[in-house]
Subunit: 231 residues, 2 copies
C-alpha cells in the first residue's frame, strides 16, 4: 500500500534498503524534528552514521515509527508510556506476561485508593465473577484490580447497580478474547508475538470502544427517533 516512491536511497551496511531522514519522514508522514525527538527520547534507535553529519535509516525505523504513531495517535498513550512499553518489548528477558503487564499499567494511571467498604465489595464481586466464569486468572492481578477500581468508582457516583450487567460485559469480553486468540493463531509469527500483543491490546480497546459508541448511536436513534448523530 506504499504508493510513495523511495528516492535518495542508499545501501545500508547489511544490504538493507536504507534512506536519509528526509525520506524516512516522507515515507511515514512523521516530521524530521519529531523523528529526532523520538530518537532523543529513546523511542526510536538512532540512524546508522554514513558520514559525520549524515545518518541512514532502514525498514526497522519505518516500522517502529508506525508502531509509535499507532500507540500515540489511536491508542492515546503518552510518549513516556510508549518508551516504557518499547523498553519492555526489547528486553531479551521479557516474558509475554511482563510486557503486557507494563502495557496495561501504562495505559491507565495506577489508582491508589484508601481501603474502604466500597473497594472491598468491588473486589468481592470480581473474585465471584472470576470463579463463576472458571477463568484461570487470579482476581487480584492488575486487570482484576483495575476492574475492582472501576466498579468502586461507579458505586461512588451512585451506580452500584452496574454489577447486575457485569455478566453481559464478561460474555462480550470472552467473545472478543477468543477472536483475538484466533487472530494471533492465524496471522502472527512467533517472533512478532510480543509486539503484536501490545498493538492488539491497545488498538483492540480503541476498536471496541468505537464499536460500542456506534452501537449506542444505533440504540439511541431507535429509542429517541431520527438519525441524530450528525448534530
Amino acid at each position: 500500500m506504499m504508493g510513495v516512491s523511495v528516492g535518495k536511497a542508499v545501501e545500508g551496511r547489511k544490504g538493507e534498503h536504507a534512506v536519509r531522514i528526509g525520506e524516512l519522514s516522507r515515507r511515514t508522514g512523521v516530521s524530521v524534528p519529531t523523528i529526532k525527538f523520538y530518537v532523543r527520547e529513546g523511542l526510536l534507535p538512532a540512524g546508522e552514521l554514513t558520514s559525520p553529519n549524515q545518518a541512514s535509516y532502514g525498514e526497522t525505523h519505518v516500522q517502529r515509527l508506525r508502531l509509535i504513531r499507532a500507540l500515540l495517535d489511536v491508542g492515546g498513550m503518552s510518549v513516556a508510556a510508549i518508551r516504557d512499553v518499547i523498553v519492555a518489548v526489547e528486553d531479551p528477558e521479557r516474558s509475554m506476561h511482563k510486557v503486557l503487564g507494563v502495557t496495561a499499567n501504562r495505559l491507565v494511571p495506577r489508582y491508589e485508593r484508601e481501603p474502604d467498604t466500597v473497594i472491598e465489595e468491588a473486589r468481592k464481586s470480581v473474585a465471584e465473577l472470576v470463579a463463576a466464569r472458571g477463568w484461570h486468572a487470579y482476581p487480584e492481578n492488575p486487570a482484576g484490580e483495575a476492574l475492582a477500581a472501576a466498579l468502586a468508582a461507579l458505586d461512588d457516583v451512585g451506580h452500584g447497580g452496574f454489577v447486575e450487567i457485569l455478566d453481559a460485559y464478561a460474555d462480550a469480553a470472552e467473545k472478543v478474547a477468543r477472536a483475538d486468540m484466533d487472530y494471533v493463531a492465524h496471522h502472527v509469527a512467533r517472533e512478532a508475538l510480543v509486539e503484536s500483543a501490545v498493538v492488539g491490546t491497545v488498538l483492540g480497546d480503541a476498536i471496541f470502544a468505537a464499536l460500542r459508541r456506534l452501537a449506542h448511536v444505533d440504540a439511541s436513534n431507535r429509542v429517541f427517533g431520527g438519525p441524530a448523530d450528525r448534530e
Copy 2:
C-alpha cells in the same frame, strides 16, 4: 456506605447539610489543595461564602468530586478534558448526542491523517460493517471515524487482517450496548441521564478493557499452561 461521621457541619442557605473544606476533603479523600485547584480550574463550583474567608460546601460538591475522581483516576482523562465534559454537561442547551460527542472527542486525541489508500480502505470497511449490521448510524460520525483510524493504524503496522475478526468485536459491542441501555432504563432517572451517559461511556470502556485482559490471561494460561499472571 459512608462510614465517616460528618463533623463541623453548618447549615447551608437552602437548608442543605453544608460542611467546611476540611470536612469535604475528609469525606471524599481529595486533599484541600486539590479541591482548591479544581475550583480554580472550573471543574468544581466555588463554595458558598459564610464569612469573608470561610466557604461552605454541600452534597453537590461531594458528588462532583466523586465524578471528577472517577473520570480522572479510572477513566484516565486529563483535567482539561474533564472540564470540557463538565461544561457540556452543565450547558442547558445540551443534547445527549452533543455531550457524548464532547466526551468521545476528549477521550481520544483527534487523529489527523493525510488521506491515503489505507484510511480509504478502512472507511470502506466501516461503512460495510454499519450497513451489514443495519445500524442506524452514519459511518462518518466521530465513532465511525475513530474506528476507521484504528483499523488503518493496524494496517500500517502489518495487521490489515484484523478486519476478519471485526464482526466478532461488533457482536460483542452490540451485546454490551444492549446491556447499557437496559441498565439506563432500570436505574437512571431522566434528569441524571446525561451525566450517567458520560460516566457509563468512560467507565464502561475501562470495565470492558479490564475484562478483556482477564479473559486474555485465562486464554494465555490455558494455551501456555500454568497460572503465570503472578509473574
